[in-house]
Symmetry: C2
Subunit: 409 residues, 2 copies
């Protein structure tokens, strides 16, 4: 008998009819011979309704009482889903984060899970019950209600799966899995059957918003098999797992596109130790996150320093750099908002040389100029002109044959 | 420094503006130098909204999960009121029934309070905080969420006042106190400054719906000073307390009117042991509650047996009695829905003879025929024709001088 944790988000439990649908899906999983723990979010719109009430007293609600307020959202859902399961003839019992003892730190509004007492859940499962748990919430050592921050229900599900050593943690969303790239850009984009944690983390951080990064990190740390599926359609979804569990490993798993960045350059900086920290220190102090960083070595004692920031921070960054560049005796500051970052991701590149040159060759064949390059162990990113965004994604998707299922490695 | 428990019902916290009003009132009580515990209900309409969601799955929702659902109503209010108090510059902390450990039995939907752990509340009060507690809810030994049933927030407030040995438990409602009778019938009706628990219990059970009977019983048992006040108007309200605390005791405290009853009679029942149980047993078995019961002794070996039931049960009761009356050889069954019960209530009648005859004389002077009489230690009730209802109430109110404040006893 397998133990399966199923997580349903706000859209999947958005009204009583949808909750009844979820109950039918859970009931089927039980009838298939599994022990099931269900983690649910607040009904869609409910969190915003509660925030609206709180804003009557504080434009930016936060702190302990906000968590007392918001945690009612999931509590409503667990009660309703348990009732819906009863209609399906399934014996169910609901738990709030406090009742199941999802112990967190005391960082209200963005708490982190420290431990889960899975004993009661295990007993209920062994007694033939479905256990319905409120996502997104926990309780600190002193008994205060905490919430995990946006997307926290995914984390609850993965943490519960880890605590129970569940066979699989299924995250039901409004997409039916993780794709090789955005199907709106490349119609041939293929749903991946399996993908490694590392690849999923790179894809998520690069803009493929299917899962919360934190829940994937958690799954990776505790080796939880994580599956993304659609609440509204059938299909096996995408399993996110360890490299060892993936028999047929492609060189490249996906192509991602990020339109949120902007490029800034400081030109002709006198080349001496400490330029990088001298330039980036003040930027970091202004709470601006820097993504890609490139520094060219120079022949004439001066160097060009290039990096990317979020487009929303572009103007502030330029302002800071202009002041700095004068102080440092640089030649000037330039910037460009009309760029995108295109990346290929795949654990296959660890063991295969030549992936980078294959990528650059494919882009060159389409006359796409590369403005920046950055690489990690399982990812290569390039910055290019915005106008080439879709062309670059289509070109790379085809160049690495992503429309075809991978062959055995 | 006094400790005061203040309870605000659903109408008083019906929207953010009203919650802000409550916060101002609480803040004033704090600034007047008191330690304050606030008990709140769900925002008006919220419980019905939640019940509506539950009815999607069960026409008559009940059991454990209903309490998980409904308890979110008060949890929303405690968070919002705590935020509103912060706006007033008051340090507040909220507790759900489970957090403050209002321990109840496991009778979901109608649980009874067994114990309260007031230690944390006492510490918060001593640290200068206002403690905001969710009414209506508790937790059983196993950690399940329970609710106390309708009106349970009053009980929470009184129980908390008892546990803290509070100086006063103030129940804020939409009326400004307890009146000598219904002011819509008698414009001269006077707000009572003080009334005993026993009188309040009689008045409540006779149809003066200001407080839940259970909360008055609780207050009486633990000698909690209970005050009924208006959330929307100023004024001292009515203090419900022990007889010893009432210096100026009137003979009679109030006149009540109950229009919900109907009278049934079994005529000419052969007078032998066991008639009462023979007639009332089957009625009780049908779950029909009987109120007043009168049996006349007879000269000719037959007796008339009269009692009252709720008007909604009139037809069912007549049906049962018709079958019984044939079996028992009675002369017949009669009934009348067009009757009312008028009562006078007052602890003064314990020590003063002649109250009953004074009452009957006053009614006779207005040609009001008395159909049934029933008395308890502090109450005399009569059943009369419905058409005399208002006249009887006005007559008795005047006969006992209720429009005037009582003199020292």
């Amino acid at each position: 008998m397998k133990t399966i944790v199923q997580k349903f988000g706000g859209t999947s439990v958005g009204d009583p009819d949808r909750i009844a649908n979820v109950a039918r899906r859970v009931a089927q999983t039980v009838r298939d011979g599994n022990q099931v723990v269900v983690v649910v979010s607040a009904m869609s719109g409910e969190t915003d309704r509660l925030l609206g009430l709180a804003r009557a007293f504080n434009a930016q609600p936060r702190g302990r009482e906000l968590d007392v307020l918001l945690s009612t959202g999931e509590q409503v859902t667990i009660a309703l889903l348990s009732m819906a399961l009863e209609v399906e003839g399934i014996d169910a019992v609901s738990y709030t984060g406090g009742q199941v003892q999802i112990l967190t730190d005391s960082a209200f509004n963005k708490a982190r899970i420290l431990a889960i007492d899975e004993e009661a859940v295990r007993q209920d499962l062994d007694a033939g019950k479905v256990v319905v748990i409120a996502g997104f919430q926990g309780v600190d050592e002193a008994g205060n209600i905490t919430t995990l921050g946006r997307g926290g229900s995914d984390t609850t599900a993965v943490a519960m799966a880890a605590a129970l050593k569940a066979d699989e943690c299924q995250i039901y969303t409004d997409v039916d899995g993780v794709y090789t790239t955005d199907p709106r850009i490349v119609p041939e984009a293929r749903r991946l059957d399996r993908i490694t944690y590392e690849e999923m983390l790179e894809m998520a951080s690069l803009g493929a918003k299917v899962l919360q990064i934190r829940s994937v990190e958690f799954a990776s740390k505790y080796l939880v098999n994580l599956r993304v599926l659609s609440s509204f359609a059938d299909g096996g979804g995408t399993l996110i797992t360890t490299e060892e569990n993936i028999m047929e490993q492609a060189l490249i798993s996906g192509v991602t596109l990020n339109r949120d960045e902007a490029q800034v350059m400081v030109l002709g900086v006198p080349d001496r130790p400490g330029i990088a920290s001298g330039l980036l220190g003040p930027v970091a102090d202004a709470n601006i996150e820097v993504d890609m960083i490139v520094q060219n070595s120079s022949a004439d004692g001066a160097t060009d320093f290039t990096f990317t920031v979020h487009r929303n921070e572009f103007d502030r960054t330029l302002e800071i750099l202009k002041a700095l560049s004068e102080e440092m005796g640089a030649r000037g500051v330039q910037g460009d908002k009309r760029i995108v970052k295109v990346s290929i991701v795949g654990v296959g590149m660890r063991s295969h040389a030549g992936i980078a040159s294959q990528m650059f060759r494919a882009l060159a064949a389409e006359n796409i100029n590369i403005r920046m390059i950055s690489t990690s162990e399982i990812k290569i990113s390039v910055v290019i002109d915005e106008k080439y965004a879709e062309l670059a994604v289509r070109t790379l998707h085809a160049a690495f044959g992503l429309e075809n299922s991978p062959q055995s490695a």
